[in-house]
């Protein structure tokens, strides 16, 4: 890291779907605990007042005309970060589960690790999770953790955590390609395939503040199957991301030259 950290442009991406009761508080908490972060809320086709609440909290809001899912929402955030020249992007869920007070713990690790860390994940399972994690969630997480740790040869304790922060390399990668639904686990595999490094920092989380978890019983079965299939297939992909494809955004994409060069540099062709 050459530049002074204070000069880095930092963005907090807050995906939110029907979170009118929580999203305003999340935005204000980010402003209070991490005033150096701009906040963009991705309103993923909410049917309630999520957009108004987020704007009242002082966030820029990107509205999807209909619900496209958490993966597409996060990718919108990364595209926004890339287009506007942000150096650091954090994900803070709009349901209030992630504590903005921890953002600077993640950021510190991103910096102190230098080129070692391209993404820092907040892990509930390296210390006190902060709330009672349901047993089913723990088991699912453990399975992903074992598989991913074996693949990446790093100890990854909380691959399903969405509370993470990444640098310019991660932003460029994820703006180009991000998994569809339940993207967190696959995103780690993508980073690994591109030789980007992942670190974890212990964080505490809240039980969900408002609304229902998007993952109920039949969906959790689909979650397990989908992610395990994606991890399995990922092992057989020579090139995890379609790099050669032209960027799918409009012509005049401002980042195209720089991103293409640095992207090619970071991303080895074979695995």
């Amino acid at each position: 890291m050459v530049r002074d950290h204070n000069q880095l442009r930092k963005l907090a991406i807050v995906p939110a779907y029907n979170e009118q009761g929580m999203v305003g508080r999340v935005v204000r908490d980010i402003h209070r605990h991490a005033p150096d972060f701009d906040v963009v809320v991705i309103d993923d086709g909410s049917l309630d007042n999520t957009t108004a609440e987020a704007e009242a909290g002082g966030a820029v809001v990107i509205r999807h005309p209909f619900n496209v899912g958490i993966g597409g929402a996060m990718q919108s955030g990364f595209k926004h970060a890339l287009r506007n020249g942000y150096d650091v992007a954090a994900q803070v869920d709009g349901d209030g589960q992630h504590k903005p007070a921890h953002i600077h713990d993640l950021l510190a690790k991103l910096h102190t690790s230098g080129d070692e860390a391209d993404m820092v994940c907040g892990s509930r399972f390296r210390g006190d999770p902060g709330y009672r994690v349901p047993i089913g969630r723990r088991i699912g997480n453990l399975i992903f953790s074992v598989v991913l740790s074996a693949i990446t040869r790093r100890r990854i304790t909380d691959p399903t955590s969405g509370f993470r922060i990444t640098n310019r390399r991660g932003i460029e990668l994820f703006a180009r390609d991000y998994p569809h639904d339940y993207p967190e686990v696959e995103a780690i595999l993508m980073l690994h395939a591109h030789r980007l490094r992942i670190h974890e920092v212990p964080v505490r989380m809240n039980a969900r503040g408002y609304g229902r978890s998007s993952i109920d019983y039949p969906r959790s079965a689909y979650y397990m199957a989908k992610v395990l299939l994606a991890l399995f297939i990922g092992l057989f992909r020579r090139r995890p991301t379609p790099i050669e494809e032209p960027p799918d955004t409009s012509e005049g994409e401002p980042v195209a030259p720089g991103a293409a060069i640095s992207g090619a540099g970071h991303a080895p062709r074979g695995s």
Partner: protein, 182 residues
């Protein structure tokens, strides 16, 4: 009244020819391999891959597990178990087709919404451009002339109704990164 139990026991005991089972195994294996390869090439997303894999596995189980197929065909009154296998395959394919019709309906609805959104943005962009050419200020534009667009709370709050949809920098495709990255 003829004794039907003999017929039923015969039907229940009737087994698929081993050749049929081998063919069934080969067909499902090819289907599974094809599905996995399509996912690997990013031509198929995992959601639909899982759907096809579940269907293939159901047919595979029915083809291999004779007892189960016999019970099923007995329960619904099909005398030849192989026919039950056909019916099951046909039914599952029918369900898949119906499912995809539902998805197609949703996709066309979403495409329509996208087209309408793009058209609305185009009108607004042209109006703003015309206003700029005439030396006027576009409504809700707080920038001084020449100042690059920036994401800021005031800008977002300045947009009149939330329904207009603040769309980040997407309405400003021509900016260069150097101006935004000071």
């Amino acid at each position: 009244m003829p004794d039907l139990s003999a017929v039923f026991s015969l039907a229940a005991g009737g087994q698929l020819d081993n050749r049929v089972r081998i063919v069934a195994v080969i067909v499902t294996a090819v289907l599974l391999g094809l599905v996995l390869e399509l996912v690997r090439r990013r031509r198929l997303i995992e959601r639909y891959a899982l759907l096809w894999m579940v269907v293939a596995l159901i047919l595979l189980v029915l083809a291999i597990w004779n007892q189960l197929l016999a019970h099923v065909s007995n329960a619904v009154g099909i005398e030849v178990p192989a026919n039950a296998l056909f019916i099951a395959g046909l039914g599952l394919a029918f369900l898949l087709l119906l499912h995809f019709s539902v998805i197609t309906t949703r996709l066309s609805e979403e495409t329509k919404i996208l087209a309408q959104e793009v058209a609305r943005l185009d009108v607004e962009a042209r109006a703003a451009r015309a206003a700029a050419v005439n030396g006027e200020r576009a409504p809700n534009d707080e920038r001084s002339p020449g100042e690059p667009w920036r994401p800021s709370a005031t800008h977002a709050a300045g947009l009149a109704p939330p329904a207009t949809g603040e769309s980040g920098g997407e309405s400003q495709p021509g900016r260069s990164p150097s101006t935004a990255d000071q």
